[in-house]
C-alpha cells in the first residue's frame, strides 16, 4: 500500500495531555495502513517529539493565533521538505484555522477531515440548548447572558452552587455571589461574552468519542465512564460502557448535523438521566482507548478519506478498563538540539 504521511498536533503528552500521541499510536497500530507520522509541535519540550517509534519526524509550528500565512507556509514547507498528505489537528485553538484553509491545503495535496465552520460553532456552550433538544439529550438548566445586569438576575434565580462558563473556554463552580461575579469578570476579560450560567448536575462523568463522515453516518463510537480523574479533571482510569441514551444521542448528532470529523461528547449521568455538558470538536486525549477495544477511529478517518475498506459497523465490549500510567524516556540531546536550532527533529 502507498505510504501516507500524516501530520498530528497535540503531541504534548503531559499531565494535561494533548490527543496527538494517542492518535499516532492508533494509526501505527493499524497494520493495513502504511503511515509515517509527522509531529506538529509548538514547543521543543512536547514529549511526542522524542517518541520516535510513534512519531517519525517533528516540526515546530508558529502559533495559530499569529499570522495565518506563516502557519500555512510552514505546513507547505513540511509538505515540500518531508512530505505531508493528511493532517489531523488535535487542538481546539488551531481548528478554526485548519477549517478556514482546508481548501488551500487540499489544493496543495494535504487532506483534512473536518467539520465546516457552521458545524464547528455548535460546540459553543451558548448553542448547547439547541443541540441537546435536537439530539434528544438533557441539558442542565442553562442561561446565556450578555451583560452584567442579566448575570446578576440569573445567579439570583439559579441559587448556589452554580457553574459560570465561557462560551468556548473556562468553567468554574461558584458557591457564593462574590465567587460567581469574580469568575464572570475573569471570563469576560479574557474571552468576552456570552457567559453561561448553569445549574450544577452531580453524577457520574461519561464521555463518548465518535467520528462522523459528513454525510450523516458514523465511523464508530465508544462510550466510557471516568472512574478516576487527576486534579485537572483528566481521565486516569476508565471503563467502557454501553449507555443507550448516550450512544443514541451521538448517532442523532452525527445524523442531524452531518458532522464531519472526530468529536467528544462530555456528559453527566444522574440515575438514568444523561445531561450534555460539552462538545469537543476533536479527538479526546483518551481516544486510543477506542482503538484498544477494537474501534480504530483515526484509522477509519484515513481509510474513509482514501476510499479504503473498513468495518462500517464496528462494535466493542462494555467492561474494558483503561489505565493511564507514567513512563520516562531517556535519550540523548540530539533531537532536542535539532528541534531547538532547526525547528525540526
Amino acid at each position: 500500500m502507498k505510504e501516507i504521511i500524516i501530520g498530528l498536533s497535540g503531541i504534548n503528552a503531559i499531565d494535561n495531555p494533548g490527543p496527538g500521541v494517542g492518535v499516532a499510536r492508533s494509526l501505527k497500530e493499524d497494520k493495513s495502513l502504511n503511515v509515517k507520522i509527522v509531529g506538529l509541535a509548538y514547543d521543543a519540550m512536547e514529549p511526542g517529539i522524542y517518541l520516535d517509534w510513534l512519531i517519525d519526524k517533528s516540526f515546530i509550528l508558529p502559533y495559530p493565533s499569529g499570522k495565518n500565512e506563516a502557519f500555512i507556509e510552514r505546513l507547505l514547507y513540511i509538505k515540500e521538505s518531508y512530505g505531508l498528505d493528511f493532517i489531523i489537528p488535535n487542538l481546539d485553538a488551531e481548528l478554526p484555522l485548519y477549517i478556514k484553509y482546508a481548501d488551500v491545503l487540499e489544493k496543495n495535496g494535504i487532506k483534512t477531515f473536518l467539520p465546516d465552520i457552521t458545524q464547528f460553532r455548535l460546540r459553543g456552550k451558548d448553542k448547547l440548548k439547541e443541540v441537546a433538544e435536537k439530539i434528544k439529550i438533557n441539558l442542565p438548566e442553562t442561561l446565556v447572558v450578555t451583560s452584567y445586569e442579566e448575570f446578576l438576575r440569573g445567579i439570583e434565580t439559579f441559587g448556589f452552587p452554580l457553574m459560570v462558563k465561557g462560551s468556548f473556554y473556562k468553567a468554574y463552580k461558584a458557591y457564593t455571589a462574590q465567587e460567581a461575579i469574580y469568575h464572570f469578570n475573569h471570563i469576560v476579560a479574557e474571552w468576552g461574552y456570552p457567559i453561561i450560567i448553569q445549574k450544577v448536575v452531580a453524577g457520574e462523568e461519561m464521555n463518548v468519542v465518535a467520528v462522523g463522515d459528513g454525510e450523516g453516518n458514523s465511523l464508530g463510537s465508544v462510550c466510557i465512564k471516568k472512574m478516576w480523574v487527576t486534579s485537572l479533571g483528566k481521565i486516569w482510569t476508565g471503563v467502557t460502557i454501553k449507555n443507550e441514551k448516550m450512544l443514541t444521542a451521538v448517532e442523532n448528532f452525527i445524523r442531524e448535523y452531518k458532522w464531519k470529523g472526530p468529536f467528544e461528547l462530555e456528559c453527566i449521568m444522574v440515575g438514568n438521566e444523561v445531561y450534555l455538558i460539552e462538545i469537543n470538536p476533536r479527538f479526546p486525549a483518551w481516544s486510543h482507548f477506542a482503538t484498544g477495544v477494537g474501534i480504530n477511529l483515526a484509522a477509519n478517518i484515513i481509510k474513509k478519506s482514501y476510499d479504503l475498506e473498513f468495518d462500517e459497523k464496528p462494535d466493542y465490549e462494555a467492561g474494558k478498563l483503561f489505565v493511564r500510567y507514567t513512563y520516562e524516556l531517556i535519550t540523548d540531546m540530539k533531537t532536542f538540539q535539532n528541534i531547538v536550532t532547526k525547528g525540526e527533529s
Partner: protein
C-alpha cells in the same frame, strides 16, 4: 430491561452495570440473592435458597433481612 437484568455478575461476586459503568462487590449471600432475582425467583424461593445454601434454620428472619436487602437494591435503583 431493569438494571438488575443487564448486570454482569461473576461467580466471585463482582457485578458490573454496562450502562452506567458502576461496579459492586457482593458477598456470598448477596450473590445468591442477586442470582435468584435475575432468575425471576420470588422472596419465598430465594429465602429457601439461602436457608439451604447457608444452612440456616431461621426462615422468618432470613425473609425479613431479604426484604431489607431488596429495599437497598431499590435505593441503588438496581430494581
Amino acid at each position: 430491561m431493569s438494571r438488575l437484568g443487564i448486570l454482569a455478575i461473576n461467580d466471585e461476586g463482582f457485578a458490573f452495570d454496562p450502562q452506567s459503568g458502576e461496579s459492586f462487590t457482593l458477598n456470598k449471600t448477596a450473590l445468591c440473592i442477586l442470582k435468584g432475582l435475575k432468575d425471576n425467583k420470588d422472596i419465598k424461593e430465594i429465602t429457601a435458597m439461602i436457608t439451604e445454601n447457608f444452612d440456616i434454620s431461621y426462615e422468618e428472619e432470613v425473609e425479613k433481612d431479604l426484604s431489607d436487602f431488596i429495599e437497598h437494591l431499590r435505593i441503588y435503583q438496581l430494581i
